[in-house]
Amino acid sequence: MTAENSFYGPLADPAGDAGHREHPPRMGFFTDTSVCIGCKACEVACKEWNGIPEDGIDLLGMSFDNTGMLGASSWRHVAFIEQERPLGRQDAGLAGLPVGPSSTEEAEEVVADALEVARRGGGDLGTAPVDLGFPSFDLPGAGTGTETRTQFRWLMSSDVCKHCTHAGCLDVCPTGALFRTEFGTVVVQPDICNGCGYCVSGCPYGVIDRRPDDGRAWKCTMCYDRLRDGLEPACAKACPTDSIQFGPLDELRRNADRRLAALHEAGVTEAQLYGRDPEDGVGGDGAFFLLLDDPEVYGLPPDPVVPTRDLMSMWKHAGVAASALLAVSAAVFVRGGRR
C-alpha cells in the first residue's frame, strides 16, 4: 500500500502505508513540558516495565539531569535547563536581592568541556556510563563583575523517541527488525535485530542506540505490548502531572493546539509546538512536544529531516557514478585492445 509520500512529506496513514489493514488509530504522545515537574517518574516507570538496565551512576552537573540523553538504556530522558530569563509572567523573586551575574553559562561550559573529551562526546549518555571526572576551571560566576541577574526560570522536559511519520531508523534497517506497528509507532523487534547499527546513524534525533553488552539496538516501543492490550504506555501512566499525554494522535494535536493558545493567552508567548506539523522534515512526529524555548536548547534538532527524503537523488548519483565506473573500466581496455 505505498503512497506517493511513502518516503517523505505529509502522510495521513503511516500504519496503512506499512500494510496494516483495519488498524487502530495512530497513537502518540503529547509531552506538555510546561507542566513537567522533572520528577523522572517516566524514566523509572519505563525502565521497570521494559526491564531496561541501569546506565551509569554518574553525576553530570546538568542541573538535575543525570541521565543526559536518550539512549539504548534510557527511553525517556528528562532535561533540566536553568536560564536567566523569565517564564511567562512568573516572578522568580530576584529583584532587590544582592545577586551578581548568573552562573548558568559557566556551569554549561564546565559540562560541555568535560563531555568533549568523553569517548563518544556525550553521545553515549543514556546508553553507557559517562564519568565527567572532577573538572577544575576558572572561577564560576566571575562574569565581568558588573551585571546582576534579575530573572530566572527552570525548564524541564521529558524527551522520548518521536515515532516519526517518516522514521530514518526504520527506513534504513536492513533486517526488518524495526517496523511500523498497527498503531503507527516504530518498534525494534529484539528477536530480529542483529545489531548492524545502521539505525543509530539513521535517526535525526539521536534517539536509538546500540547497547554495548547486548549488541542490539534499543529504543522506546511506546510500550507496544501494553498498547496491544489497550493499556497506555508506562511513562504516560505514571506521569504525575499529565505532562505526558497518550492517545490518538489527532486528538492529541487538538489538545496541544488548545493548550498552546491558552499559554499564549496567559502570557507564556515563548511556548511553541515541536513535531506537531505533518509538513515538517519527518512528516510530523508521533510523539510531539510543547516547548518553552527553541528545540536545540533541549538538545533537539531544530529542523530535522529524514535522510530518506533524498533516497532517489542519492541512488541517481550513485547510478551515474556506477555507470561511469563501468564505462571507464571498459574504456581502459578498449584503448589497449586485445593483447
Binding site: V35, G38, G56, N66, L132, G141, P240
Partner: protein, 875 residues
C-alpha cells in the same frame, strides 16, 4: 511555605498543577528555588528559619488594613474573648511572655488564660519535660469552665480581647522589618500579602501547604500556629479550597501519630499518664477538664475502651480497668534523650530499630552511631541492610578510630522484614485517610512482618513469664493477645477490628466513637479510628472508583474521624448554617430535615441546629453551641491566641534559630526561650549572637529531600533505577558564594559545623541566591541528606552536621536551619578530621555552654543550660 511539594510529593502536586490550570495563583516561599518554584507564579526567597517574621508580617498587614473575614473571625475564633489582666506580651517583656522562669527556661502559662477562666499557677518545667502540649494533640489543652460562657467583646475593641492583643503583638512585624529579617524585599512581601488577602473571603479561599520545612525548627510548632492564625483571620479553615495542609513524608507517618509509637501518647492522642495521675479519675480529669466544651468530654469512654482492649477481661471497674498497669512518664523520654542515655551508658541496654535508619536519617548521626555502639544489644528490622545495622564495621567512626570493631560490644540482630506487598494492613496517608493494602505475595526466607514479629514476641514473652508471681509481669500476662491467626501470622484485619472497637455484649464492631462506653462494655484500640470497621466491614478497603463517586469520593478508603474529609467543616457555613457563598458551599443546615447536610460528612452533631444554645452547666459535647464550629476545642472556637497548651507562648513570636548569623532584630530575646538544649561535649552548638565568633560559621545551612530518593536512602540508594537519577551527594551554592569561597561546579567542597565536616560535589546554580538581611549579605547553602556509606551510591552523612536542639512542644529537632562554613576541596580523613573540626571549635570559642544561655531578653544573658544541670531521673 516550608514545603517542596513538587519534589517531595509529586503525585499530590498534580492537584496544584490542575488548580493552576483553572486559574489559581501559586506562591512558593522557600530558601531556594526548587522544582516547586519552577511552577509557581511567584517565588519568594526567604532566609531559612524566619517564617514567623514573614507570617507575622502578613498578620500585621491583615489587621492594620482590616482585611480579616470579620464575620467568620467573630463567630468561629476566640478573637472576642477577654484575656486575664495578668497577661503580659512580648511587647512588654522584650520578647518574652509573662510567666517566664529563666532558671528552668520554661513558662508558667497561667497568666495566658481567659479572664473568666483563670488557671492555677503551675511551673512550666514539668509540662516542658513531658512534651505536654503534644499530648493534647487535636484536643487542645483544657480550659477550666470554658463551657460556662467566656467574657467577650463582640465588637473586638476591648484592649484585652484576643483580637486587640493579637494586633498589638504583631504590630512591629512591619514590611520593613520583614525585609530586614527575612531578606524579602518589601514589594515582594506586599505582593504576597495582597494575593493572599484578595483571594480569601466569602467567595474565595486560599490553601496553605507546609511540610517538615516548618516542623523541624526550635520554634516549629509556632510556625504552624502562625500559619493557622493567618488562615483563621482570612476564614480559610473548614472550607473547601482552604485549610492548612501538612504534607507528611512517609506512607503512614500520620498513622504513627494516630496509633502512636511515641513515648508521651496513647492511641488517639490520649496522653500517656504521668506520675501525677494517681488513678483513672485524676487522669481523666486532666484530659476532660471540668466544665469544658467539646468531644474530649467523652475521654472516659475512649480511655476505658482502650484499657479494655489492652487488658480484656482483666480490666474491670473495680481495678480501674488496669489503669495501674500503665507505665508513667515524668520527663523527656524522646528519642534524642534516649540516644544520649545510650552514649552515657548504663541506662539503656537494648534497642529496636524497626524500618528506621538513624545512623543516617536522624539528626546528629554521629551521636546515634556512638549510642548504638554502646548497647548490650540491638535489633534491626529492615528490607535491606542499612547503616544502622553495620555501624560496627563501616561507620565513619571506624575511620576516625572512635569505634573499633573488635572493641564494640553491641550484639546485633538483623531480621529481614516483609515489604508492603508481602503483608496486608493499613497506611494512614497525609489527609488522615486509612487505605488498606491486600497481601500480594508471601514473604520469602526469614522475612516477616512487624505484626508477626511483635505478635510472636508477645506470645513467647507470655510463655516465658507464665506462672510468674512478680507483680510487674501482670500487665504482660493479662495482656489481651488473642488475635485471630493463620498459622503463626496474626490477622491484620482482626487487629484493625479491635482498633475500631468492639461491643463486648454483642461481639460485633461498633460503628464509631459515639458508640463507645465508659462502663467497660466496649473495647476500642484507637477511638479516632472508630468506624473504620463499622458494620463488620473493613471500610479502609473500599475502592469505589473515582469515576463512580461524587466530588468528595467518600467511598474510597476511610478518613478519620468518621470519614470526614474536611475537618471543622461546620465553618464552611455561616453562623446561621447557610453556605458562605454558593461557590464555596460544602456543609449546611437543612432546616426542613432538621439536620446538617452537604457534600462531606458534617463535622458536627448531625441534628444540632445552628442557633442552639447549650444549657447552663452543661459540659463536653452537650456544651457545644450551634455555632461552635471547632468541636474539639475546649471553647468551641478556633484559636488566634492559645490560652494554654503551648510551652513557648500563646502566640507565635519571631525568634532566631538556635544557630544563626543574626541578632534578633525584634526583641532582646534571641532564640526560643524555651527550646530544649542539650549542652554536652558531644553535642556542641555553633555560636549565635549575642555570643562571639558566630562569624566562624558564616553561612545558613538547610537540608532537604530530592524527589529521586527517600529519607535515609534505604529504600532508594539500593535501587539502580533511583540511584542513577541522583548518583551523588552534592551541595548547592549560589554563584555569589562560589566566587566568595572559590568553589567550582562539579568539583569537591566540604561543609563544616562544630559537629563534623562532610564532603560533597559542588553544584553552582542560580537557584540559590544570597539575601540582604539587615544590610548584610547572607548566603544560604543547601544539601540533600540521603547518603550514607552503603548502597549503590555512597556519600557522607549530611545529618552528621546537625546537632540536637529541639522544639519544646513536640521535641522535634531543629534540622532545617543551622550555620556552617564551606571550603573547596575534600575534608581531611581519619583522625585528622577530628582535629580539623576541633580547630574550628577552638576558633569559634565553643564550649559545652555555647548556645545554652537561652534567655537573653532585657540585655541579660542568663545561665547556661548544660547537661549536668539536668534534673536527675528520679527512681
Amino acid at each position: 511555605m516550608g514545603s517542596n511539594m513538587a519534589e517531595a510529593h509529586p503525585v499530590g502536586f498534580q492537584w496544584v498543577i490542575e488548580a493552576k490550570a483553572r486559574g489559581a495563583k501559586v506562591i512558593h516561599i522557600d530558601p531556594r528555588f526548587t522544582r516547586t518554584s519552577a511552577h509557581a507564579d511567584q517565588h519568594v526567597t526567604l532566609r531559612a528559619g524566619t517564617d514567623i517574621a514573614f507570617l507575622g508580617g502578613v498578620i500585621n498587614y491583615i489587621l492594620t488594613h482590616d482585611l480579616d473575614f470579620r464575620e467568620y473571625v467573630r463567630a468561629y475564633t476566640n478573637a472576642p474573648f477577654l484575656l486575664s489582666e495578668r497577661y503580659q506580651d512580648t511587647e512588654d517583656l522584650d520578647g518574652l511572655f509573662s510567666g517566664y522562669d529563666p532558671q528552668t527556661a520554661s513558662y508558667d502559662a497561667s497568666s495566658w488564660s481567659y479572664a473568666s477562666t483563670p488557671m492555677e499557677e503551675q511551673p512550666g518545667h514539668h509540662l516542658k519535660e513531658v512534651s505536654a502540649p503534644y499530648q493534647h494533640g487535636a484536643g487542645g489543652p483544657f480550659i477550666e469552665g470554658a463551657a460556662g460562657g467566656i467574657e467577650s467583646d463582640p465588637a473586638l475593641e476591648h484592649p484585652r480581647c484576643v483580637f486587640q492583643v493579637l494586633k498589638r503583638h504583631f504590630s512591629r512585624y512591619t514590611p520593613e522589618m520583614v525585609e530586614r529579617i527575612c531578606g524579602v524585599p518589601q514589594e515582594l512581601f506586599l505582593d504576597v500579602c495582597r494575593a493572599w488577602t484578595e483571594n480569601s473571603g466569602r467567595e474565595r479561599t486560599t490553601a496553605l501547604v507546609y511540610s517538615v520545612g516548618w516542623t523541624q525548627h526550635s520554634v516549629g510548632a509556632q510556625f504552624i500556629r502562625a500559619g493557622s492564625i493567618v488562615q483563621l483571620l482570612l476564614g480559610n479553615i473548614g472550607r473547601p479550597g482552604g485549610g492548612i495542609f501538612a504534607l507528611r513524608g512517609h506512607a503512614s507517618i500520620q498513622g504513627s501519630t494516630d496509633v502512636p509509637t511515641l513515648f508521651n501518647l496513647l492511641p488517639g492522642y490520649l496522653p500517656m499518664p504521668d506520675t501525677t495521675h494517681e488513678d483513672l479519675s485524676t487522669y481523666l480529669d486532666g484530659v476532660r477538664g471540668r466544665g469544658q466544651k467539646g468531644f474530649w468530654g467523652a475521654a472516659d469512654a475512649y480511655m476505658v475502651s482502650l484499657l479494655k482492649e489492652y487488658w480484656g477481661d482483666a480490666a474491670t471497674a473495680e481495678n480501674d480497668y488496669c489503669f495501674d498497669y500503665l507505665p508513667r512518664i515524668n520527663g523527656d523520654h524522646g528519642t534524642y534523650r534516649t540516644v544520649m542515655d545510650m552514649v552515657d551508658g548504663g541506662k539503656v541496654f537494648g534497642y529496636f530499630l524497626l524500618g528506621q535508619n538513624p545512623a543516617v536519617g536522624s539528626a546528629h548521626g554521629r551521636l546515634q552511631r556512638l549510642g548504638m555502639a554502646n548497647l548490650d544489644w540491638l535489633v534491626v528490622r529492615d528490607l535491606a541492610m542499612i547503616e544502622s545495622a553495620t555501624f560496627w564495621k563501616d561507620a565513619p567512626e571506624i575511620e576516625t578510630g572512635e569505634i573499633v570493631t573488635e572493641k564494640c560490644r553491641t550484639e546485633v540482630f538483623f531480621f529481614p522484614a516483609a515489604s508492603h506487598v508481602e503483608k496486608a494492613g493499613t497506611f494512614t496517608q497525609t489527609q488522615r485517610m486509612l487505605q488498606w493494602r491486600d497481601q500480594a505475595v508471601e514473604p520469602s526466607g526469614d522475612q516477616r512482618s512487624e505484626l508477626w514479629f511483635f505478635h510472636q514476641l508477645g506470645v513467647r514473652l507470655k510463655e516465658k513469664l507464665a506462672g510468674s508471681t512478680d507483680e510487674r509481669d501482670r500487665p504482660v500476662l493479662d495482656l489481651a493477645w488473642d488475635y485471630e491467626t493463620e498459622g503463626e501470622e496474626p490477622s491484620p484485619s482482626d487487629v484493625l477490628r479491635h482498633i475500631n472497637g468492639i461491643d463486648l455484649n454483642t461481639g460485633r464492631t461498633v460503628d464509631g466513637y459515639l458508640d463507645l462506653k465508659a462502663d467497660g462494655t466496649t473495647a476500642c484500640g484507637c477511638w479516632i479510628y472508630s468506624g473504620v470497621y463499622a458494620g463488620e466491614t473493613n471500610q479502609s478497603r473500599r475502592r469505589t472508583s473515582r469515576f463512580e463517586t461524587g466530588p468528595y469520593d467518600a467511598e474510597w478508603g476511610w478518613t478519620w474521624p468518621l470519614n470526614r474529609r474536611v475537618l471543622y467543616n461546620r465553618a464552611s457555613a455561616d453562623p446561621q448554617g447557610r453556605p458562605w457563598s454558593a461557590r464555596k458551599k460544602l456543609v449546611w443546615w437543612d432546616a426542613e430535615a432538621g439536620e446538617w447536610t452537604g457534600h462531606d460528612t458534617p463535622d458536627f452533631e448531625k441534628n444540632k441546629p445552628p442557633d442552639y444554645k447549650a444549657p447552663e452547666g452543661a459540659s463536653g459535647i452537650q456544651a457545644l453551641d450551634g455555632d461552635d464550629a471547632f468541636i474539639m476545642m475546649r471553647d468551641g472556637k478556633g484559636w488566634l491566641f492559645a490560652p494554654a497548651g503551648l510551652a513557648d507562648g500563646p502566640m507565635p513570636t519571631h525568634y532566631e534559630p538556635h544557630e544563626s548569623p543574626m541578632r534578633n532584630l525584634l526583641y532582646g530575646q534571641q532564640g526560643n526561650p524555651v527550646r530544649k538544649v542539650y549542652g554536652r561535649p558531644d553535642n556542641p552548638s555553633n555560636p549565635a549572637p549575642p555570643e562571639a565568633h558566630f562569624e566562624v560559621f558564616p553561612f545558613v545551612f538547610t537540608a532537604a529531600r530530592l524527589t529521586e530518593h527517600h529519607t535515609a536512602g534505604a529504600m532508594s540508594r539500593q535501587l539502580p533505577y533511583l540511584a542513577e537519577l541522583q548518583p551523588e551527594l552534592f551541595v548547592e551554592v549560589s554563584p555569589e558564594l562560589a566566587v566568595e569561597r572559590g568553589l567550582h561546579h562539579l568539583d569537591w567542597a566540604h561543609v563544616i559545623t562544630s559537629r563534623t565536616a562532610v564532603d560533597a560535589r559542588v553544584v553552582v546554580t542560580d537557584r540559590m541566591a544570597p539575601l540582604r538581611v539587615d544590610g548584610r549579605v547572607v548566603h544560604q547553602v543547601w544539601m540533600p541528606y540521603h547518603w550514607g556509606q552503603t548502597g549503590l551510591t555512597k556519600g557522607d552523612v549530611v545529618n552528621d552536621l546537625i546537632g540536637v536542639v529541639a522544639d519544646p512542644n513536640v521535641f522535634i529537632q531543629e534540622s532545617k536551619v543551622l550555620t556552617c562554613d564551606v571550603r573547596p576541596g575534600r575534608r581531611p580523613r581519619g583522625p585528622a578530621l577530628l582535629e580539623y573540626v576541633a580547630d574550628y571549635r577552638r576558633r569559634a570559642g565553643i564550649t559545652t555552654e555555647t548556645g545554652t544561655r537561652i534567655a537573653t531578653a532585657g540585655g541579660h544573658v542568663e545561665r547556661a543550660h548544660i547537661e549536668s544541670d539536668r534534673p536527675e531521673e528520679q527512681s
